[in-house]
Symmetry: C2
Subunit: 510 residues, 2 copies
Amino acid sequence: MVMNKVGRDIPKEYADQFGIYEGELAHISDYQEASRVIKPVKPRDEKLVGSIREAIEKTGLQDGMTISFHHHFREGDFVMNMVLDEIAKMGIKNISIAPSSIANVHEPLIDHIKNGVVTNITSSGLRDKVGAAISAGIMENPVVIRSHGGRARAIAAGDVHIDVAFLGAPSSDAYGNANGTKGKATCGSLGYAMIDAKYADQVVIITDTLVPYPNTPISIPQTDVDYVVVVDAIGDPAGIAKGATRFTKNPKELIIAEYASKVITNSPYYKEGFSFQTGTGGAALAVTRFMREQMLKDNIKARFALGGITNAMVELLQEGLVEKIIDVQDFDHPSAVSLGENANHYEIDANMYASPFSKGAVINQLDTAILSALEVDTDFNVNVITGSDGVIRGASGGHSDTSMACKMSLVISPLVRGRIPTFVEHVNTVVTPGNSVDVVVTEIGVAINPLRQDLIEHFKNIDIPQFTIKELQEKAYGIVGTPDAIQYGDKVVAVIEYRDGSLIDVVRNV
Amino acid sequence: MVMNKVGRDIPKEYADQFGIYEGELAHISDYQEASRVIKPVKPRDEKLVGSIREAIEKTGLQDGMTISFHHHFREGDFVMNMVLDEIAKMGIKNISIAPSSIANVHEPLIDHIKNGVVTNITSSGLRDKVGAAISAGIMENPVVIRSHGGRARAIAAGDVHIDVAFLGAPSSDAYGNANGTKGKATCGSLGYAMIDAKYADQVVIITDTLVPYPNTPISIPQTDVDYVVVVDAIGDPAGIAKGATRFTKNPKELIIAEYASKVITNSPYYKEGFSFQTGTGGAALAVTRFMREQMLKDNIKARFALGGITNAMVELLQEGLVEKIIDVQDFDHPSAVSLGENANHYEIDANMYASPFSKGAVINQLDTAILSALEVDTDFNVNVITGSDGVIRGASGGHSDTSMACKMSLVISPLVRGRIPTFVEHVNTVVTPGNSVDVVVTEIGVAINPLRQDLIEHFKNIDIPQFTIKELQEKAYGIVGTPDAIQYGDKVVAVIEYRDGSLIDVVRNV
């Protein structure tokens, strides 16, 4: 075991393989960018093939290779299941999959794991049954959890080399120019897929809407694409927006949102031309609404809003309260429409969004961000990956990226959820180190990280109750009692990469 | 000496280094894409530096390195001279320069060559005094002439590795997001520069119009940029459009344009949804005008127009006769404005435009293209680089790329220019092999390449006089006499790469 800088013991085997977390910027240095093997496409060559099977055959996919997918269709994704089913039917085994994330809809993956088709996984997260199966120990090799910026980093640095990327595209022409704003299952930005397209040796575009050449706007260009397959349906539009756009009526969440908005609009960063990311989820959407009111009152406009985009943000753009939206992912249909129609709503890839190894990500220019948490501990460490039972059910997302890079990160969370404390002595799993978290916002008030004495000084007269993080934990325990320790097994079922590729934690079987 | 497939003797030294031309697709194979060394930019790092000198110092530019520039400012470019002057002042020597092209305005380069500051050059072309100086033999090493697609190929394949790209940008924010459609010296598309930005180890954006972050649209993203410098002026808008937009009143050129338009609109490719590239120059612009009339008459619309874009093309877009413009370079101000304002006017990079090593260039999808010539010989070989005196004064441009890849290439040229025959027994320098040329159009009629029996059959009843290419040459000699042979020296002053990187010819000193 080797202890890393957030006090987590990392088994030597994994510490040797990945390195251990030693601080937010400890492992950032010059590197040779990874590159792909390109098969040039000659004049008169065609890319359109008749089926997913034919595409797999043409790529020469073999046992042991790495394939990737994107998660822009979220719970509406048909692509990963279709491709893995075909690979399984073809008898190909020992495949590593590197989707940008995995959703509930990917439950068939469990059988592919059990049958030896899929033997390695890297993902931002795992949900429900897949997460439970992984936590139960069905895989020999641990899943590698990477943040969105960390995934872009891993691909650019060659830690993940994608042999074939299977990328669902709401629209494409027969030469592979693809976007997410036209078609039957529009998902908006293809920001995560764009990375795979650039670095994978071979790229297969899978679409249900073939359009005349040249398809524009071009999110994934023909120069990144080897084959194009047309299928009946790539995704379910309802699933793409599932669960994201609900505006909360929960009084606790509304108070949290109001406090978070107040922190932002009273912060030193709130001024004409500021920038913010609020993300998705009920409380986050409510923050956007409260901020809107204050911005109107103060006649202050934001230069840009970032991140996973929702209709709430699009409305600010349309109202002129936000000058530009910089968009790596959309969570609902109105956002996808806006991306296609509004020149000030601009698509970027995950590398530009959040990679710590890029020549400067957009999050580096971000003033403030709202982030969620499953658990926060008394060192401000945040867990967004495992539940209170130790089972993997969340996703790393852009959490560690954004909280580190922006000027003021807010982690919002109720004190307890049901009979489970959110504020704990030690989080089950560290995804984001406490150093990156500036302000924690709950329904009873806020705690400011002592590392940010400037903020403590700035906010000393703000009209919100203030606590230490220890006090928040004690209050949570006071309500629901001290939680029982989780009984983990000995098997490491997932390793948690910090955004720089080093290990910040591991998850054991339950 | 080794003879290549167009019958040119290539000195063994260069044949060994580059390989020799062996056919249009002989050297196209899978390859590992080149990559750059990236210096990650951390949160709070700034890219804005105070001067070009400071930027050069920060990049650590040293003797022997390779730097690049783009030629989107054409005769209005200030950037290359500014940077080379500063490099010379700093005492740095033995620099290789890899601009996408070199214009008359770069005459100061001659002194930098003489003083040992610049010792290697690769470029699409050389004009006037720089061309004359190179042809006189002032450099020890031959200039490497590459087509636009060939340059993109060379960079992607690692034949050219750019240590530092100095890229003039009409507008940029302080983090390096740059475009060519806003600012004081708008040039429109930054298609050639986008390649350098992606592959160069370090990129310096030089702008005279710094805008608030984030600058959009983003032609060159912050993730490709290391430093940003603001100067008083990067270029002269008048020079950018110089010589390009003249509409011909020359009766010979008008007849050529009328014949070319007739060939296209009577070809098997002329139908709803066809595509074309007409390029610049008086006759090419006139072709566009004649085609417009015919398209209106036939109620036929083009799906896309490609290439160096002029106002003539933009008008077709606005009229709805062309659905989309795919734009790697703009030749006048209205085109730059259109790129900034019209979503159907779409910017692409040189790799996507024309690289034979890409996963499919747009020219592979092109129906027909109009190309110019300084000389055409009886094998249909075309020279666009040396004058009748053997002096370098032209540019390879997209000539060999487009003529090879499109379905029907038209080379338009008057039979003679002054007392100089355009049609000759053997061109001074082969840039485009005869195999790639389908139809030659002159003021007296056309010659169709015997390799295109399908076109000879198709056009047998067209209302244009038809000749063999030999007859055109004999008629030209009949008018102006047999040209005297050029007295070349023994020194190779330039090597001409075919688009695949092999040598199709060399140019000796005069």
